[in-house]
Amino acid sequence: MIIATNVTKKFGRLTVLNNVSVNCNKGECIALIGPNGSGKTTLVKSILGMVVPDSGFITFNGQNILHNWAYREHIGYMPQIGRYPENMTIGHVIAMMKDIRKSNHNGPLDEELIEQFDIPNMLNKRMRTLSGGTTQRVSAALAFLFNPDVLILDEPTAGLDPVASELLKEKIIKEKQKGKLILITSHILSELDDLVTQVIYMQDGNLLFHKSLEHLQNDTGEKKLSRVIASVMRNQS
């Protein structure tokens, strides 16, 4: 569904993505793992067209995403740090998103997370007054709102309290069972255990491996994802 081919991106002299190629298909739940500054967020932003690669290309459903914008209606994106117009209230932001995507979205809206996160009671709060966790809730609710085929979640549980984090996890599992493609970047490996089917490991802008979880478990003889990754990292160094 999403195919990246030899994507390279440099910020000045720093190579953030070095010849990265990935192939993501429907129904997979992929964990994007790697140390800080390994290029996970840049890869995600390249897929969204927010960062333009220096070379290489990315296709979505067989179409090159460069100069294309319509494909983004199939994507729900939850940024690592949600930044919203400070003067708008939560209600305004949600209404604006609905308004903007109305023309190319004709299906029912998925307001389950909005309800579960208790957002209807906070509609009049201005975005600048929100805590980090509340902003994350709004980001999550917006990502799922339009029932997208692809969900890209950048550090979804960072800043969420345990209750919200658990609700979000249940929601992700539910959407995964509907056969959607889900891309998650996270550092908290224990949280990914019952979610992921595939693992992409990145380091210093290089994609080290892209394997299925079963494959990795067989290779290393470990069950838990955190142990699997630890064992892989040990073998590499």
Binding site: K45, M50, V51, W69, R72, I75, R83, P85, V93, I100
Partner: protein
């Protein structure tokens, strides 16, 4: 695209600065005409407002506004929208709000008290300068990531167009006063939209005689229909080119 313009406009109008700017212009526009019996004198006073204050307010306000909408732009870029549309909507929203403010503040008093060719040209020049300086501000803001640097560049650009450029022209005039520079001057003046505006209005006020031989050359060029059309095209280029370059940069910008 119209939807985004709507949101930008709503946000700007909620911002009290634009209302204060409208009232400021309206007070000046009204008082100038009520203090003087001679409307031409009134227009002359307004000329300085149009040529100095309007570009300053437009370029500073737009630059700061573009930086402050970084979050808004970032939010929209991840949605199924064309980058071109997002950027142009931002431009249209700011330009429309400032044009409206100028039209209410200066346009209305002029049309009420001094409904003449000169008055209409003054308003037209002011409206064009408003749009031009919004376009220049968009270019300044998209080029630099650092807010303080961007606003600094905007202020410097305004200084250049309003003061430095005239100084440069005077310098060239004195240095090369032995040569026939009239046609060259004509070309130089197109490099500054504020100058074109000034010449435009002064010629209509029939004070070109005060400008000596150069004034006669200007009268000869700008006084004719082809000259006026050329000057208008140059003004339009001053709106379109900065906007076009800013759009090209924005299209490839990493957010």
């Amino acid at each position: 695209m119209i939807k985004i313009i709507k949101y930008v406009m709503a946000d700007i109008l909620r911002n009290k600065i634009i209302i204060a700017y409208t009232i400021f212009l309206l007070v000046i526009g009204m008082s100038v005409f009520n203090l003087e019996d001679n409307t031409t004198k009134g227009l002359l006073s307004l000329l300085n407002i149009v040529l100095i204050v309007v570009p300053l307010v437009c370029i500073i306000f737009s630059t700061i506004y573009v930086y402050n909408s970084a979050e808004f732009v970032e939010l929209l870029v991840s949605q199924p929208l064309q980058r071109k549309h997002i950027w142009l909507s931002l431009f249209c929203g700011i330009a429309l709000a400032l044009v409206l403010a100028f039209f209410i503040g200066i346009g209305l008093p002029v049309l009420l008290y001094s409904f003449s060719a000169t008055g209409i040209i003054l308003v037209a020049v002011g409206l064009m300068l408003t749009v031009i300086f919004v376009a220049i501000a968009m270019l300044a803001a998209v080029k630099t990531r650092d807010k303080a640097k961007g606003i600094g560049i905007a202020v410097l650009l305004w200084l250049y167009f309003s003061l430095l450029f005239d100084g440069l022209i005077l310098f060239i005039l004195f240095q090369f006063s032995d040569y026939p520079l009239e046609n060259f001057m004509l070309f130089l003046s197109t490099l500054n939209p504020v100058d074109i505006g000034r010449i435009f209005i002064l010629l209509k006020m029939d004070v070109s005689a005060l400008m000596g031989y150069t004034g006669a050359i200007f009268q000869n060029f700008f006084g004719t229909l082809p000259g006026m059309i050329t000057a208008t095209i140059v003004m339009l280029l001053w709106m379109v080119l900065p906007l076009y370059f800013s759009l090209r940069i924005f299209n490839r910008k990493d957010l």
